[in-house]
Point group: C2
Chain length 407, copies 2
């Protein structure tokens, strides 16, 4: 297969350059999610949207040893034939790429103007972080996965979530009238984007995440089928805030970020009511997301302390239900896979598991090789059309090859 030409960088595209930049080079609420504007946008979310800090606390950063290896020449079979890691990184619009082996950095590369302190948008990798936070509160007895969501958030009575359980929300098996079609302005995900300020508001829009979520209606029976629905994670975040009486960003900082030995504060987008967007609004550095990944690989222990309960991580990895694994491309790729607690399990030879976000955001954990891979990207599309995927196929084949090479 012919390789794409090398993607242009934000600087080559002259995005947001000049004092002031010309109108057609502005990155704004109206275009930051869309290629090529996302090449600048995903690294500068705080300059586009209001954000809440996720404080790293007072401690020193957890040291990351370095044992550099040249992974760029590693060859593997991608969707279109043999390719190298270096080619995969280039053709998949990579902004940042980091590999940990046994907790030490073996590769750390920045592209497209990104740097070690750039907070890059995680998109739906955010969901996997939120799932781990939920596990902490479950273990503490504050959150019952079997309880219905509306027990914790009465404002959701009358909505799809009135009788959905917390576990169903965690597993994306709530049945909600919700189109996750990013390209359709009439979809619920587009309306939700407008409600939180991720797209320009239109006449008649409901403004504010916690005004929008209660309007979502039930589709069929909960628990019977996988339905990827970003609103589920936001409902989960709302539950966590309510039971702790703590804003989500402060809660995540207190329970995870301030314990992890993160180098940098993170941040997360907020709407005009102060509601964060745990389904996709986290912005973190490459290294700090790698530290988070290593913590999960180490059964929740990192930086000299217990952060996430080992039992929650074990359940997340081993109690997913393959019968509910989506029948689209995922099942073709990982026939024995499962989705549980906001994470995807490959059940491949290395039993790798991962968080993934649109436009190429990846946190890949390979427990057999003790390898963490973080990849931030700015694909020009949100998600490949079925049957026309090289982005995910090449990326995942590359990750798998790295795990095999480092095992």
């Amino acid at each position: 297969m012919a390789k794409s030409p090398r993607p242009q960088t934000a600087q080559e595209l002259a995005l947001m350059q000049g004092f002031p930049p010309p109108e057609d080079k502005l990155v704004t609420v109206a275009n930051f999610q869309v290629g090529p504007y996302n090449r600048w946008g995903f690294q500068h979310i705080s300059q586009i949207l209001p954000t809440a800090p996720i404080g790293r606390g007072d401690g020193t950063a957890a040291a990351l040893e370095r044992r550099a290896q040249d992974l760029g020449a590693l060859a593997f079979t991608g969707a279109g034939g043999r390719m190298t890691i270096a080619e995969m990184l280039e053709t998949t619009y990579t902004d940042g790429f980091l590999v940990l082996k046994d907790g030490a950095i073996v590769a750390e590369q920045y592209f497209n103007g990104m740097g070690p302190h750039t907070r890059h948008l995680l998109m739906s990798v955010s969901k996997s972080l939120t799932g781990m936070l939920a596990g902490i509160l479950v273990e503490r007895g504050l959150l019952d996965p079997g309880a219905v969501v509306s027990r914790y958030v009465p404002a959701l009575r009358g909505s799809a979530y009135e009788d959905a359980s917390v576990q169903q929300v965690l597993d994306m098996v709530a049945s909600v009238i919700y189109s996750e079609d990013y390209d359709d302005p009439r979809s619920e995900v587009a309306a939700q984007d407008r409600s939180v300020g991720w797209r320009p508001a239109q006449e008649g829009d409901i403004i504010g995440l916690y005004h929008f979520l209660p309007t979502l209606k039930k589709a069929g029976e909960h628990g019977t089928a996988f339905q990827y629905c970003s609103a589920n994670t936001d409902v989960l975040g709302w539950v966590l805030e309510t039971i702790t009486d703590t804003p989500f960003a402060d809660l995540f900082s207190r329970e995870i970020w301030s314990k992890l030995g993160a180098e940098d504060d993170g941040y997360i987008t907020v709407d005009r009511y102060g509601a964060t967007l745990p389904d996709g609004g986290f912005c973190l550095t490459l290294r700090d997301l790698a530290r988070f990944g290593q913590m999960v690989l180490q059964d929740g222990h990192y930086n000299g302390q217990r952060i996430v309960p080992a039992r929650w991580i074990d359940e997340t990895r081993h109690r997913g239900d393959n019968r509910l694994w989506p029948t689209d491309g995922w099942r073709a790729l990982y026939p024995r896979g499962s989705y549980h607690n906001q994470w995807s399990n490959t059940e491949d030879a290395h039993r790798s598991f991962f968080g993934i976000g649109i436009n190429g955001q990846h946190l890949w954990l390979d427990p057999s090789a003790n390898v963490v891979i973080v990849k931030f990207s700015s694909w020009p599309i949100a998600w490949p059309a079925e049957g026309d995927d090289t982005y995910i196929a090449d990326t995942f084949a590359g990750f798998t090859a790295i795990g095999q090479a480092l095992a």
Copy 2:
């Protein structure tokens, strides 16, 4: 004089509390500058406005030794009679208060929910930071204070700034048709606020700082009278960006913040074109602003390195022109005072000098006592009416008393 009742905290006022907060408790672009909403707003600017990070870089934080003293009981004569520092702090809506003596912390107090990592809005203390950045580029030969502003920013031709010199802008003696009346929605400062998103836009507004500034017209002759005009500092920032081809936040990080041993990144508000607001948009922690102050007191040397040229600081402190010192309350308070390079010189017994911002933001440097005082506040008014001042009078009398006590 009867003391004001203790100011209510943001929490007592229930601002931005609840998931979601009720409409009348929201802090938004429309009210964050206004009391009591500013009690929450000034500590949460990133949650209200887009912001650009001011990176602290890779180094460790410059250590601040602690030699605690009880300054709270220190008595002095304020506007209404004898009072203590503790009373002054309470009645002037203090959010954070820190005193360095010989570079060590003797007092550090937080109020109203603020903490050591909270980035508080500096308002016009930002100007004094910007002035020091200008000095670095002057010393490097990149910026000629005698040159007219439009030599560096041609877009300002035809505006008030066409023939204003950089030095006149630095000294607030450019003559501009510009009302700095924060309470008058028809004032230029209000229009500028709307142009940068600090107030809701109205029909017909010019959007974007760098579209607004060129519309300002000349009033009289430059250089003949002091005129406090926030636009001057933004023009200066525009000059600095242009000559270095570097966005202001990145430039400030590169030249100052990354060298200072700051504990936290700062941030600064940006408009939709990415223009920062150096006249008032800095948000920093209490300790980090104190470090900056100590650096200035130490003639530009701090954290083991030269940051600002000693000559620039010496000129700033000693070359101001008393004849141009404003004739309002400032001359009554400090008859021999001067304003130079975005700093005010008291020429009092200790030759203290300071940066100041509306609603009670203070960076006070007492070179005789080797004392730095930082005070963040959220006064319910922007600025006291003439003849009706206790806020500034009490605060400055308290600072002076601290300098005397610690000398």
